[in-house]
């Protein structure tokens, strides 16, 4: 104690401090090392298998997130053999038995991604590290999807992307562990271009307002390519921050730009706000260059259409899926979703539900949860009955190739859910493209010892 009373020198403190730090720092590592002994990340050992749902419950895409969560809960129910079985009955071919996956009951944990890449990665990490999630799924923003997909590649955990429409998700930033059922901006452009040419003519001047992140950028590019191929001129393309709320400062210049088409590369609440404001500015009643001014929303969803109300009437866009299609898969899904929640599902809900089933089916077919085997089972898999016609999970970029819908806001809605009508179902051959055009590299399938 005399030593301490005299006070310690800085050197002495540093010496003992460092020794203590190293000593205590190393000791727990010896205990945690054992955690890596498992064969792969979060190998389910009990009688349940946990999936991690990473959806935005707050922020610009919160509506989509809430609907996605409903779809996931329904999918988990159906996989566990509860409810009416939904799409389990119509998936062709199917290895699903309705008793969970590989005999294990499906459980889930959730996380609010807040439409922020940072938060989404933190949430995904928590679900993998703490809650033992074997697979991560969700996302309603491509920025988030790309970020989480990268994380899942590092961790060796499969990521089944939900609503993400950027070309980058399965293009420049594609990953071996990431899979996307949703279509992309390139396919939107290819599908929508001819319809726009037919309706609005070959001599138009387009003005783009674009959400300033990966999805907006690629959609703007794809729409530019598609419309310029028609002979349209692009007057300007202005980037707007995600979740801006007020778009009037971006809309005012449109009025004086000489453009006669406004292309809104916005989604979720942003699109609801920008479209409503554009209508309030009187844009749809204007005539420019002797033509009626038009608004185009390349990526549409039922939830947005509902949010925008009457403003959406007659506006063209594209959709991944619509509840009013007449095939067996769509009918089955709309029926069981409607029975559970009292409203028809959105395209976001549909893609998330399908992704969950496809993952479960791939595990069953692979006969194991070991990710490289599940990846092999998904790559190049052909299936049908999920509401999009015959579909292929392309092995080169993990993009689902299927039909794309061109939709329009219903002019005379018969119910509050009747907001979009399908104008044309563009066949998958028409929206096919070479996977190498976007570059990128899938990376290795062997999981890194990260988890």
């Amino acid at each position: 104690m005399t030593l301490l009373k005299r006070g310690l020198s800085r050197r002495r403190v540093l010496q003992t401090g460092m020794a203590g730090i190293i000593g205590t720092g190393v000791a727990p590592l010896m205990f945690t090392k054992g955690a890596w002994a498992q064969e792969f990340c979060n190998n389910p050992t009990g009688d349940t298998v946990t999936i991690g749902l990473n959806v935005p419950l707050t922020g610009a895409y919160a509506e989509e997130g809430a609907d996605e969560l409903r779809a996931y809960e329904l999918a988990v129910k159906h996989l566990n053999g509860e409810g009416d079985g939904g799409l389990l009955n119509v998936l062709q071919p199917s290895a699903l038995k309705g008793n969970g996956v590989l005999g294990k009951k499906v459980a889930f944990v959730t996380s609010d991604s807040q439409t922020k890449a940072d938060v989404a990665r933190a949430g995904a990490t928590r679900m993998i590290e703490r809650d033992g999630a074997l697979m991560i799924t969700g996302g309603s923003s491509s920025g988030v999807a790309v970020a989480v997909q990268g994380l899942c590649q590092e961790m060796g955990v499969i990521f089944m992307a939900g609503l993400t429409h950027s070309n980058d998700t399965t293009g420049k930033d594609k990953k071996r562990y990431g899979f996307r059922h949703f279509f992309n901006a390139y396919q939107s452009g290819v599908a929508l271009g001819p319809v726009l040419g037919q309706e609005y003519g070959k001599d138009r001047k387009a003005y783009h307002l674009t959400a300033d992140y990966t999805w907006g950028w690629t959609q703007e590019e794809s729409m530019k390519n598609a419309t310029e191929a028609l002979g349209w001129e692009t007057v300007a393309a202005v980037r707007t921050p995600l979740g801006a709320g007020d778009f009037s400062q971006f809309l005012t210049p449109v009025l004086n730009s000489g453009a006669d088409v406004l292309i809104l590369n916005h989604y979720g609440n942003d699109m609801v706000n920008s479209l409503t404001q554009a209508v309030q500015f009187g844009m749809r009643d204007r005539e420019v260059n002797g033509k009626q001014f038009q608004i185009v929303v390349p990526l549409f969803s039922e939830l947005m259409a509902k949010g925008a109300g009457a403003n959406i009437k007659g506006i063209f866009g594209t959709s991944n899926w619509h509840w009013n299609l007449q095939d067996a898969g769509t009918k089955a899904f709309t029926k069981s979703f409607g029975a559970e929640y009292g409203a028809p599902p959105s395209q976001a809900a549909h893609t998330c539900y399908v992704q969950t089933l496809l993952y479960a089916d791939a595990c069953e077919r692979a006969g194991t949860f070991y990710p490289p085997e599940v990846i092999k089972a998904l790559e190049g898999h052909d299936f049908d009955g999920m509401g999009n016609g015959p579909t292929t999970y392309r092995a080169e970029d993990h993009q689902c190739m299927k039909n794309v819908l061109v939709v329009r806001g219903t002019e005379n809605p018969t119910s509050e859910y009747d907001v979009l009508e399908v104008v044309q179902e563009v066949s998958r051959d028409a929206v096919d493209y070479d996977p190498s055009i976007f570059g990128g590299d899938l990376g290795p399938a062997e999981p890194a010892p990260m988890c």
Binding site: G7, A117, D118, A122, R126, V146, A211, D212, Y213, T214
Partner: protein, 382 residues
């Protein structure tokens, strides 16, 4: 000359032990997983650094997230251009954020009080908006700056060929993942805590405290306070840069939302919640807020139903309905309530509560004055 008082040594050793044992004592709270532990350490560094400016010098900066974000961006760029090793990234991030703090501090510190706060807020918000618009080539906008396969990584390429897939950050060849990353961050937390402790006890720290209690008087006695405030500003900016870099090391991604005013406000909350002006307070505040953000926000109805399982059916339903408003998406509400309660009943933060409890057990000794009154205690020079 360099001797530390015994009280400080005990505090330092106790702090180090608590931090290093976090994976053990956080187990019952469901928070002992590497990613959250990293965040605990990183945001504690951020708050400790912020406290040097706010708690010690009395300058309330509303723009510290800017330095945090700049540190992250600098670290990721170091990963992209130089090497995946953590050390160059850290050095680069600290230097860049230090220079950035020097520039902003030089301008903002011409004013004090509310004007200073508004200036820093304006600069931070400016950085945030620039990161979204003009600087998109550097920051990659909303998508966030990420590693890619085409990065040059000059230093790494000199020694080895690129492996398959994206590389992850290393420390001299050891991959920084899981608990290794946590002890890496914990080391920096302990080291920066030690530095903050020494700064507080030094003559320089004495000057900062003097500036806090009465800057005008300091000026009248012939002391030029500007260099001191600027030094404190730069030091805390470098702390923020270090924290930002560590966040990028544990997860190589940098997004502009790290610079948003809410992120700046968060560190102010952390410091006030824990106890501004104390050494341990900001650390506790940072842990509390990060705990709420990560654990409370993840509680859903299913977990609540289990938790209230002992109640009869109707009561259980009501209990779940009421409590679900305070968890999950509603975690901000809980945090807000806790903050209001603390500010009203414990103006000195959690640390004041600790002091009051400690005082209960030592009724005979004269209780040490609370944080609010220490400032007005007559100084030896008076």
């Amino acid at each position: 000359m360099l001797a530390m008082p015994r009280k400080d040594v005990v505090l330092f050793l106790g702090f180090a032990a608590v931090v290093l044992a976090m994976p053990i004592w956080l187990q019952p709270f469901g928070a002992a997983y590497p990613d959250l532990l990293n965040r605990f350490a990183i945001f504690a560094i951020f708050a400790v650094g912020f406290n040097i400016l706010f708690g010690l010098t009395g300058y309330l900066s509303f723009g510290h997230a800017a330095f945090f974000g700049v540190g992250s961006y600098a670290a990721v760029w170091s990963f992209k251009l130089l090497s995946m090793d953590a050390l160059p990234a850290l050095v680069f991030a600290i230097v860049v954020s230090g220079l950035f703090a020097l520039a902003i501090g030089f301008l903002s510190l011409r004013r004090s009080g509310i004007y200073f706060s508004i200036l820093t807020l304006a600069f931070a918000q400016m950085s945030y908006n620039l990161a979204y618009s003009v600087f998109t080539p550097i920051t990659n906008g909303e998508t966030g700056l990420q590693l890619s396969l085409n990065d040059s990584r000059v230093l790494d390429r000199m020694f080895s060929e690129p492996g398959p897939g994206l590389p992850s950050p290393t420390l001299l060849g050891t991959p920084l993942s899981g608990y290794v990353a946590f002890y890496f961050c914990a080391f920096f937390l302990i080291a920066t805590f030690f530095i903050a402790q020494r700064v507080t006890g030094s003559p320089f720290g004495m000057m900062l405290k003097g500036i806090k209690s009465n800057q005008t008087r300091m000026n009248y006695t012939g002391v030029n306070t500007r260099p001191y405030t600027l030094a404190a500003f730069v030091i805390s900016g470098m702390y923020a840069g270090l924290a930002g870099a560590l966040l990028a090391i544990t997860d190589p991604l940098a997004g502009a939302e790290r610079m948003q005013w809410t992120a700046s406000g968060e560190v102010v909350l952390m410091t006030i919640l824990g106890g501004a002006g104390t050494l341990v307070g900001p650390v506790i505040g940072a842990w509390l807020i990060k705990y709420f953000e990560n654990i409370f926000s993840a509680i859903n109805d299913g977990i609540l139903t289990q938790f209230w399982g002992f109640l009869p059916d109707g009561a259980q339903h009501t209990a779940v309905l009421i409590s679900s408003k305070f968890v999950g998406e509603g975690w901000f509400l809980t945090l807000g309530l806790v903050f209001v309660l603390i500010v009203v009943f414990l103006p000195g933060g959690v640390m004041e509560g600790v002091r009051r409890i400690a005082a209960l057990f030592r009724p005979n000794k004269p209780t040490p004055a609370s944080a609010g009154t220490t400032a007005s205690k007559p100084h030896p020079a008076e």
